[in-house]
């Protein structure tokens, strides 16, 4: 059930780009994980990347983060980038606030960490040790750590996959709030179709190393899962991912 105007609404952005990928390829052991990808992301745009395992989602994210290098093509990204990984990746020997401003010391750093922690609702945990936090709290610290640097590009690598369903809902709200306040360009890699529809302005589906489908999400935020358009998008995306509507319906 394709939406009538979806292709039309996809137009080259006039605004300056935050991310510019041109003919980007990356292969591992002769297997092309990414094959001549072209992608532009506007500043402040929230993009979700969906796709089955092994289709190059993580590779794309690592290229954008600067943790990996392209084999061919050009890649231009903001100088300041942050990543929230699937696991919190906090230094266990550092207090929460020290983790947020990792590498920096002093009263100013502490104050910045305090502000960031207040934003994620963890002001009271500034002096706690990471081992005392719950999974959701640790991931919120990771969010604070990512945002305290005021990144031009925020990369989210399945950051809520390990959280329970209720915590995940709260995290979605929090991410939206923070995105609206700081407005970085965001690339969210996820398996969760609903998560992508809830958060993203545009959804990419990767398949066989290429961008198979690009879907803009025309719904206003915050979004309602009960919205029929939401359901239609979900069905379409699931179909793209090769999951029939009947099997996906629960």
């Amino acid at each position: 059930m394709p939406l009538p105007d979806q292709r039309a609404s996809f137009a080259r952005p006039a605004a300056p780009a935050a991310v510019l990928l041109k003919d980007v390829s990356r292969s591992f052991a002769d297997r092309a994980v990414l094959d001549q990808i072209n992608l532009t992301i506007r500043p402040g745009e929230f993009v979700a990347v969906l796709g089955p395992s092994g289709t190059g989602k993580t590779t794309l994210l690592r290229l954008l983060a600067g943790l990996d290098q392209v084999d061919a093509g050009s890649i231009i990204v903001p100088a300041v980038r942050s990543v929230v990984f699937q696991e919190p990746r906090l230094v266990p020997a550092k207090r929460v606030w020290e983790n947020v401003v990792l590498g920096r010391r002093g009263a100013a750093a502490r104050a910045r960490a305090g502000t960031a922690l207040t934003e994620v609702g963890l002001a009271g945990h500034a002096d706690a040790w990471p081992s005392t936090l719950s999974g959701g709290e640790a991931q919120r610290v990771a969010l604070a750590r990512a945002l305290v640097r005021e990144p031009g590009l925020l990369l989210l690598d399945e950051p809520f996959a390990a959280l329970d369903a209720l915590t995940r809902i709260k995290m979605h709200d929090l991410v939206l709030q923070l995105w609206q306040r700081h407005h970085p360009a965001v690339v969210l890699v996820t398996h969760d179709v609903d998560e992508a529809i809830l958060l993203a302005d545009r959804i990419l589906v990767l398949s066989n190393g290429a961008i198979g489908v690009e879907l803009p999400v025309g719904l206003s935020k915050p979004r309602d899962r009960a919205d029929p358009l939401f359901a239609a998008l979900r069905a379409q995306l699931l179909a793209e991912l090769g999951v029939g509507a009947s099997t996906a319906a629960h």
Partner: protein, 299 residues
């Protein structure tokens, strides 16, 4: 869990109107309902029984040991009786041997530990942080660490002479390896995901080392220090074969040559006490240095 318990309660109490069906189907049920709470009296008894046994069982062993020795079941040269060992302690203290041995030996151990520990730490960090360091040091140190120290005494004399420094060198050599191995393993054991995160957040190599690698490797480094401290005490027995006139190792060696098993056992007890003291010191150091680690119960 609660569900199973409640089901069990139903099934096991016939007065309840719950169906007995699960039982007839051959489902085996367990009653996990807590029994009547233990009374204060029996709780107090349990505490006291614990204390009594803790103190009582070593005392009982000592008593049996003394009786066995006293009636001649155990020859004194095989195992001296507790009273013989106490007498050996008296003798060592009366002659001033123990009082003079402890400071001398502790000085040797601590000096050797400080130097050897620093060397091991430095090389361990070097090899852990830089591939070139690993390439230079790891293979030689892995080879050297298996050399039996007791066989090195003649070589140590040849290389380092017979002065006080030669004794300390033995301890230095013995303490380098545990410190090196644990520092190296600790640095290498830091989750690469953490250093990757540090890279993403713009930390340079120095900052990553200082803020991520070293703090995370510190438990392993302190474990190395703990081993090295133990080795520093054990190596006294070897070190104090080199022209020593005092020290715990010397007392043991001398007792060995003169077949004083009571003094040997007394020396072992001194070692045990030093081992416990080392452990306490290390616990304090770990508590100060690793406040983020969950505290282990001391019970």
């Amino acid at each position: 869990m609660t569900d199973i318990v409640s089901l069990a309660q139903y099934a096991l109490s016939p007065k309840q109107e719950a169906p007995a069906a699960p039982q007839t189907k051959g489902l085996v049920l367990v009653d996990l309902t807590p029994r009547a709470r233990t009374s204060h009296l029996s709780a107090a008894w349990q505490v006291w029984r614990g204390r009594l046994l803790r103190v009582g069982s070593p005392l009982a062993i000592l008593l049996v040991w003394q009786i066995a020795s006293g009636f001649g079941f155990v020859a004194p040269e095989v195992l001296p009786s507790p009273l013989d060992i106490i007498a050996a302690f008296r003798e060592l203290i009366a002659m001033g041997d123990l009082q003079s041995a402890l400071p001398v030996s502790l000085y040797r151990s601590l000096s050797g530990l400080a130097i050897g520990g620093t060397i091991g730490l430095t090389i361990g960090l070097f090899a852990g942080l830089w591939r070139v360091g690993e390439e230079i040091f790891d293979a030689p140190l892995q080879m050297l660490r298996t050399i039996p120290f007791i066989a090195l005494v003649p070589l140590f004399i040849t290389w380092f002479g017979i002065d006080e420094s030669a004794k300390i060198v033995v301890i230095v050599a013995a303490t380098i390896f545990p410190m090196y191995l644990n520092t190296y393993a600790g640095v290498r054991g830091v989750d690469p995901k953490l250093t990757e995160a540090a890279k993403v957040f713009g930390l340079d190599a120095r900052q990553t080392t200082l803020h991520v690698i070293l703090p995370t490797a510190l438990p392993s480094i302190l474990l190395g220090l703990r081993y090295a401290a133990g080795v520093a005490l054990l190596a006294l027995v070897v070190a104090e074969q080199i022209n020593a006139r005092s020290g715990i190792g010397y007392i043991l060696n001398n007792a060995n040559m003169n077949q004083r098993s009571d003094i040997i056992v007394a020396g072992i007890i001194v070692y045990a006490v030093l081992g416990i003291a080392t452990d306490l010191v290390m616990r304090v150091i770990e508590r100060i240095a690793l406040p983020w680690r969950p505290k282990l119960a001391l019970a």
